[in-house]
Amino acid sequence: MNAPAIRTVEEAPAALVRERPVAGSGVGSATGAGLTQILLAGWAVAVIFPFVWMVVTALKADPEILSSPWRLPAAAQWDNFARAWTQARIGRFFFNTLLVLAGSLAGTLLVSSMAAYVLARFPFPGRNVVFYGFVAGLMFPVFLALVPLYFLVDDLGLLGTYQGLILVYIAYSLPFTIFFLTAFFKTLPNEVGEAAILDGASQYQIFFQIMLPLAKPGLIAMGIFNFLGQWNQFLLPLVLMPDENRYLLSQGLYFLAVQQGYQNDYGALFAAMTITMIPTLVVYVLFQRRLEAGLTAGALKG
């Protein structure tokens, strides 16, 4: 990903989420302002504290975790991370997750952008039926389809395979991604395509060489959105990936936590959680504005 692309991404949300004064009465007194700060700071502490505690605990030795949960570690136990990575096999799960996401993210963006492009720019009979058919998928929680999905994937011989999970991830990412990208393609100017047709370009060339590059900000927004959604996905791998060697991170972490009662390696568990959190933290800090705009787009009117 090159620098100019990132800049385009950062520009769009600046316009979308500009900090404009909202409630405009001048009554706010100094005590009011103080109280506001206390409330907001209090919530901020409530949000941050568990995560800080998690990272600190990840650096402690097990006896310390049990006897003095409130103190800082006497010496940082980096070995916890090593054990999490190898013995608890978080490294393996990390790699599995990357493998699935590489396929599912590319697939989600390609399949969705092709469909969204057609739905946004080519009127045909039944277009609305197709569009709202996709959008309806936004309403239903995944778990309702879980039982038949499990048997369907098994019948197709895809249970416990990376390909199977990739296809399912793509399918369940389509509703929102198509919804978002259709709106995005509608905003692109018509003239470019028309000029290209006069120059003798085929419709495929127009899409891949002109429209797709123009849609880059939208594609990046959906790339980030789906990265987080798919990285965090828990239910689908839990049901569709029964093979322990192919566990994904969320799932591996869950079983690690459930087994912790027997093995008592708390340090490794907290290190594993920290490792799993890092990629989402990095993506969030880098793309915070763009992500907010994407995540909230569906819920805003219009």
């Binding site: 907001l40 919530w43 045909f124 197709v130 793509i170 965090n232 989402t280």
Partner: protein, 298 residues
């Protein structure tokens, strides 16, 4: 031109329609058929039993009890989450200015939303755990040791302990949604109101709230659907789908999950799924109708 157009439309739409049809639409449709069979275990036979599973569900006290927990969530989760988010969103500006630290608070509050639910769940299971847990530790340190309890096994607290986690992690998301909606309100509205002697509270009540109502309404629907689902956090926070804590906080979706993947009662589990699917639909349409108000164009 037309010929060329359809040569584009069909191959461009086909992959999406196929994937969506096979992996999303078909399983939902199949659930309806499977719910009318007594299929269980690993047996390939799926004897058709009509509506029997549904009849048994109506008399299944465990299911009714689970559903009543969803009912309680349905009231508490949207109400509390939206109230807190609205208060925070309204507090973000004071005297016409974004308050100091607004950008920082916004980044922090939103953060739990992007963290894997599994991490959030495990983390909170250690907050609630009796001996080394943070919550009991805090209570001891501030002299409220008497309030300490075993949060995740006490039937009176386990469900609400998990609800608190859900609220904690989603307040930032709804706050950002409300802030975005508030930012599209022209500031001249507030300036005029101030001239008319409006207070902070009255301009929130008379201007902000009615103008962001559509967004609040969408949020009510989102959170209601979440209240009908709501089992990932329960199984993660309580340490497994069949633990004592999970059973004492059993919601309909968790009952479905255990009937299916623990007991292998596929037909019965699918019937639970279909009931929840219908409830989701009825609820969404119902809330849309109940919350319809005059909308304001501006």
């Amino acid at each position: 031109m037309h010929y060329q157009k359809y040569r584009l439309i069909v191959p461009f739409l086909l992959p999406a329609i196929l994937l969506y049809g096979v992996f999303v639409v078909w399983p939902y449709a199949q659930a309806i058929y499977v719910s009318m069979t007594s299929w269980r275990g690993v047996s390939p036979s799926r004897p058709f039993v009509g509506l029997d599973n549904y009849r048994r569900l109506a008399e299944d006290s465990r299911f009714v009890e689970a559903l009543s927990r969803n009912g309680q969530l349905l009231i508490v989760l949207p109400l509390v989450t939206i109230a807190i988010s609205l208060v925070f969103a309204a507090l973000f500006t004071q005297g016409g200015q974004a308050i100091p630290g607004a950008g920082f608070y916004r980044i922090v509050f939103f953060f739990p939303q992007v963290i894997p639910a599994v991490i959030v769940g495990i983390l909170w299971s250690y907050v609630y755990t009796p001996n080394i847990g943070l919550l009991n530790g805090v209570l001891r340190n501030v002299g409220l040791g008497g309030l300490q309890r075993s949060w995740l096994t006490d039937p009176a607290t386990v469900l609400w302990a998990v609800v608190a986690v859900a609220i904690w992690s989603s307040v930032g998301f709804y706050m950002v949604i409300f802030l975005a909606a508030m930012q599209s309100i022209p500031s001249s509205f507030y300036e005029a109101a101030v001239l008319d002697g409006a207070t902070r509270w009255s301009s929130f009540r008379d201007i902000t709230f009615p103008l962001i109502w559509e967004t609040v309404r969408t949020s009510i629907i989102y959170l209601s659907i979440a209240a009908l689902d709501f089992f990932i956090l329960i199984i993660v926070v309580s340490g497994g789908s069949t633990t004592m804590g999970a059973q004492r906080a059993e919601v309909a979706a968790l009952y479905l999950y255990n009937q299916a993947f623990d007991k292998n009662r596929w037909g019965y589990a699918s019937a639970i799924g279909v009931v929840l699917l219908l409830l989701t639909l009825v609820l969404s349409v119902g809330i849309m109708r109940l919350t319809r108000r005059e909308t304001y164009e501006y």
